[in-house]
Symmetry: C2
Subunit: 135 residues, 2 copies
Amino acid sequence: MISGKFAITIHILTLLHKFPNDFLSSEFIAGSINLNPVLVRKEIANLKAHHIVESKEGKNGGTKLAVNAAELTLKQIFEMTFESIGLGFAKNQPNPDCPVGKNINQHLEALYSEMNQKVSAQLEGISLEDFSNQF
Amino acid sequence: MISGKFAITIHILTLLHKFPNDFLSSEFIAGSINLNPVLVRKEIANLKAHHIVESKEGKNGGTKLAVNAAELTLKQIFEMTFESIGLGFAKNQPNPDCPVGKNINQHLEALYSEMNQKVSAQLEGISLEDFSNQF
DNA sequence: AAATTTGTAACATATTTTATTACAGTATGA
DNA sequence: TCATACTGTAATAAAATATGTTACAAATTT
């Protein structure tokens, strides 16, 4: 779940923000995303590990936001689901006997690191509340 | 080849820039990237389609740069290999009967579009020559 | 006690990426 | 002119990754 993780997580959080007084079930959330409920629960497990949401087991259980949506930034969500942005690396270890191969990944990393800073700055300026209130 | 395309292409171009007077074979290039030569030729086909390199078939054939490395920007390479950056979408069509599901992709696209602008601005300021001269 | 839900593991399927094989076509140069 | 060494490309295979499903124990409500 590399490409969908961020999108699914922000979808979940937007729903939780829209229903602040309810514990939403994974099945309900899955119905909005059109995704298997087990995968929703897996993303929720990640959110729980970061103390962003709390869940209640058992009948009428579900999940709700555990933080202030105005204080949760998209940057935090990004970091919980993506780690870092970039344009990728060649899969195999490049040839260490070639001056280019030996250093390419290091230079790509530097480039991507700068990209991350720019993207992070953008995402830091947007709260979950901001995002959710667009709907 | 989503994640590796940019990295492989810039690796190819850096090598071509380092040997401006030679036609480099796909096998030589593949040896530096540690990649199958057929995949190198595929990326070269893409570069040829954009008139960035020229190839010579036959014995002693290979590929060389066809543009000025000082004028080729990483943004152009990005656009030839990645199209756009972003944090992904959920794979399935979200529920159109849910106000959140109905609009989430549109809002994500707007967010990613802004990300792209920032990243493009960064990459536009770096030429292949700049990148290659780091080595 | 019955019903409903989370949490999680195990497994299955689908998709995407990467690698390989094969070979026709082209240029070089002995 | 013939052997050699390349490109170009298609077809296929293998590997890796992402997504989906099933199953069921544990928890909680009514």
